[in-house]
Amino acid sequence: MLRLTWRNLLARKVRLLMSTLAIVLGIGFLAGVMTFSSGLNKTFDNILEGSTSDAVVRPAGDLQGANAGVSTSQVVTPADVDELAALPQVKEAVGSIDGVGSFLLGKDDKLVGGQGAPTLAFNYAPSENIAGEQILELSAGRWPEKPGEVVLDTSSAERGSYGLGDTVSLIVPSGKDPERKFTLVGTADFNGGGTAGATLVLLDTAEAQDIFLDGQDAFTTVSLTAADGVSQQQLADAAKTVAPKGFTAVTGDEVVKESQQQIGQFLDVISYFLVAFAVIAIVVGAFIIFNTFSILVSQRVRESALLRALGASKRQVTRSVLVEAFLMAIVGSTLGLLLGLGLSRALAGLFRTFGLDIAGEVLTLTPFTIVAGYVVGIVVTMLAAYVPARRAAKVPPVAAMRDDLVVQEKGMTRRLVLGSIAMVIGTALAAAGLAGAPGTDAIWIGAGAVIWVVTTAVLAPVLGHPVLVACRSVFGRLFRTPGRLAGENALRNPRRTGATASALMIGLAVVSAVGVLASSLGATQDKIVDKEFTADFLVQMPTFQGFPARYGNEMEKINGIAEVSRQQGSPVSVEVPGRAKPDQSFAAAVDPAFFKVYDLKMLDGRASVTGDQVLLSKSRASDYEAGVGDTIEVAFPGGRTIPLEVSGIFEPTPTTSGITVPFSVFAEAGIKRSDSSISITLADGADRNAVKSDLEYTVKDLPILSVQDKEEFKDLISGQVNQLLYVIYGLLALAVVIAVIGIVNTLGLSVLERTREIGLLRAVGLSRRKLRWMITLESVAIAVLGAVLGMALGLVIGVVLRESLKDDLTELSLPLGSLVAFLVVAVLFGVLAAVVPAIRASRMKVLQAIATD
């Protein structure tokens, strides 16, 4: 039997290659994202470990302002540094100035980086990391030695097209001259390799003090290196005793751990997101494997029957098919793992364009990935091949003698009944989710949706019938006989057509559901902007980072403006009674003008804050169990905790954060003034365009700081939504590609199966061109079926999901334009899928085709 299996594999090289391709792509994607995720983690770990010293003296408290782009006024004097250095446990103490709020401009005056990864500006001073190596490694030139010199990281220098000796422009937060010029004297990177997309700007110490500390001779943190034989803990303990007021010392390990936790959440989201798409791709691949084996088995009826007649047991026949599947899985998974390695490099390249640098050497197949790849590949393939294998064994031995070779397929009744029951269960789950069953609604609906998708796939032969009949009549009308024949061919084996279309259906269902959510999100945000953003202009960074306060100061002087309201954001942590850990949140500082520009809907108290007061949104207030008049303890970066009295509670709004305080509170906490957004209203009778161009003039030296009116703000938001949407579409494209391979495969096998029929058609006068048309149209029919089923299902799922998220997605919007585009793309894919099978069919020699049996 094994030899027979082997012969079968060899005899059907092309078809097997095609179905192996489905495994290869599915496993390739899985292995790719797994490798990529672990590479991403390793990159960050390397950098964190490579850039952290044995211990750090820094402001007390949980919140590190510099991480969140907020700078505080606490400083360490050189005397403090000397005192630290004098400790016997300390081998070396290096004061550093971590600058916040600067932006590097490229040669073309466009911002370098700034797409999420921060710009880290600090003074260069040689210091050692945990492993005793230098934190920074020079890759070209030399270190900055005097004011006016700068060293950049290699990648930023490249992106800004700067070479050594060039003049580099940096936008700085304060000082007389916002745009400073430096001479590039060198390039350097973190010891761990790369910077993970961050932009490094290394300055001379005096210059850094001038820019970030208003010229004070001081530092923001101190990095400590332990003397020989001193542990990190001993070092930190010793440093604590002499640390200046408001400062504390923490071990390097702790710093690394903190950062890992912070970054870890973000990295986990990325990897779950990617793995979800890998799963979709694998499910689609499973359909194709199932289908390929079904067809192979039905084409081999006579052989199976002969085997049975010669005395092979049912089990032997089943096993021979399964062994074939197993061998395929091994080959497919192996190739898939290799492909995955390549794919992870490609993904790394893609992330590099977003500013996230991942070194090639950390992208290797881990043992876990290899095992996971093989296990998933083998299990999925064997499962998919099991049903067809059983069917092969059921062929009665007498079929070997019979002429009419059709596998006896059970009627559709059982399928229909089981499918309908499953549909009802799925609907019940989704309804339970909508009705507010315990737990997350979306999980109930998701479970229902998965059942729907599977059931639709099972019922596709039945559900697809009307679509195919419609295709037949349209094709027949448009393309006469070849069209008619194509329609008939798509209809003649409903299971095959259904299963092939299902692969595409899954991809399109997800695409359409996501499309509905994205489109609803866009509509909701438009509505919110219309309703809540009562300002005429908004000034902010596309990344919502803080920017220097001087721009706001300038704007206040412009003619034709009624109000200028400025906001600054900062991370905070709030003590919550009865909870062990304080709540990590975000606070906004607002000026009195805020309440003139925006109309907060108050549920209790007044819409104003002064002194040590705070306004809470309804949800924050209920989290903190605080009412008007109560006091909450809010801790700020820099270590200050300030008790604030709740002066009012408002309906949540995107115009301010759930914790809103006056600027005086931020000042009290020692947070340096900058703006994260400015809202401006026009004076009566002012010329909108003139005001806008005046506003734009004030920000001309920081090109990415934009002045937006409502429409532009809407565009910005929808642009961000769309960007995410395109990433999702891009990832789903893989599932669609696999589905298209499935169509190619099915068509190829069908063409082979119908060799005699094709020969006959050619003999009685079907031209090559019309034959190609016939096959192309059959392919289009399958693609249209998949698209129609997928889009219908996706719309339903999307609408139901939106319903469950009604609180956040208040508007429902159907992406009708996109749906039409999907259908067109599906037709194009159908045409594409038919190219090879059609050419193969039209190349058949008429005589040989007729003579085939």
């Binding site: 009419d404 006469r480 006989t481 008619r484 024949l485 008939e488 061919n489 209809l491 003649r492 005699r756 029929e757 006959l760 058609l761 050619r762 003999a763 009685v764 006068g765 079907l766 031209s767 090559r768 019309k770 008429v846 005589l847 007729i850």
Partner: protein, 260 residues
């Protein structure tokens, strides 16, 4: 291409001819001469049988004449058109419009009904069927009540008769049938042969049929005998015994050759 109703074809003309046709398969040692210089005229309005031992080149001859295969040398002419210089597209058109086929089995497209199968060559040519002619043919094959059926719902004999009807409906210059009754019992055979005979007698159709069956051959006007790729003999208005006699002699010759 000029359309020419069969009825108008002058009897006694040449419907198709082979001029020194040779067809070889393989090279060198393994070369097989399936056809070895065949020259023959097939007459309009005649029912011709081609007989000969297995492997003598009967099917090959038909395929070359029917534009399904290309000869190694020599010329095949159908209805005055030499096939040698035609491209695939023209050959397809020629097959569709001037040649009819009946194969031994698998003659019909399984997804189409009997009627659609019969009209297939016309619909592929985007030609309107001549309803009167269609009715006449359908009546002649006796399938009026089966027109809506699919091939899987018909017996082998019925399927072959549908195939015959399809071969006639486009009014081709010549119909080729390769062992059309090879898979049929004697009753069904008689039905199919009777129909072919009538199409010659009543509609003036030209039919060429390959067969091994002397009974089938006795329906024809002329029998060509092929051996080793050559025409070795022919009979006019044959009867069964004459045919049996010739066949026996051919087989003896073949046996003697194999022995010697």
């Amino acid at each position: 291409m000029t359309e020419r109703p069969t009825g108008e074809t002058a009897p006694g003309g040449v419907a198709a001819s082979a001029i020194d046709l040779t067809k070889t398969y393989g090279k060198g040692e393994a070369e097989v001469r399936a056809l070895d210089g065949v020259t023959v005229d097939l007459m309009t309005g005649e029912f011709t049988a081609v007989m000969g031992p297995s492997g003598s080149g009967k099917s090959t001859l038909m395929h070359c004449l029917a534009a399904l295969d290309t000869p190694t040398s020599g010329e095949a002419v159908v209805d005055g058109t030499s096939l040698g210089r035609l491209k695939d597209k023209d050959l397809t058109t020629l097959r569709r419009e001037r040649v009819g086929f009946v194969f031994q089995s698998f003659n019909l497209v399984p997804t189409l009904s009997a009627e659609e199968n019969i009209l297939l060559p016309l619909s592929l040519a985007n030609r309107k069927p001549d309803r009167e002619w269609f009715d006449q043919v359908v009546t002649a094959v006796g399938l009026r009540d089966r027109l809506g059926h699919r091939p899987s719902e018909m017996s082998g004999g019925q399927q072959q008769r549908v195939a015959c009807a399809r071969a006639l409906v486009s009014k081709p210059s010549i119909v080729f049938a390769d062992e059309p009754t090879g898979n049929l019992d004697s009753t069904s055979s008689a039905e199919v042969l009777g129909f072919l005979r009538r199409s010659v007698d009543e509609f003036g159709q030209t039919v060429v049929m390959v067969t091994h069956d002397p009974v089938a051959a006795s329906y024809t006007d002329r029998v060509l005998f092929l051996a080793d790729g050559r025409i070795v003999d022919e009979l006019r208005s044959p009867d069964r015994d004459q045919i049996l006699d010739k066949m026996a002699r051919l087989q003896d010759a073949a046996a003697a050759k194999a022995a010697g």
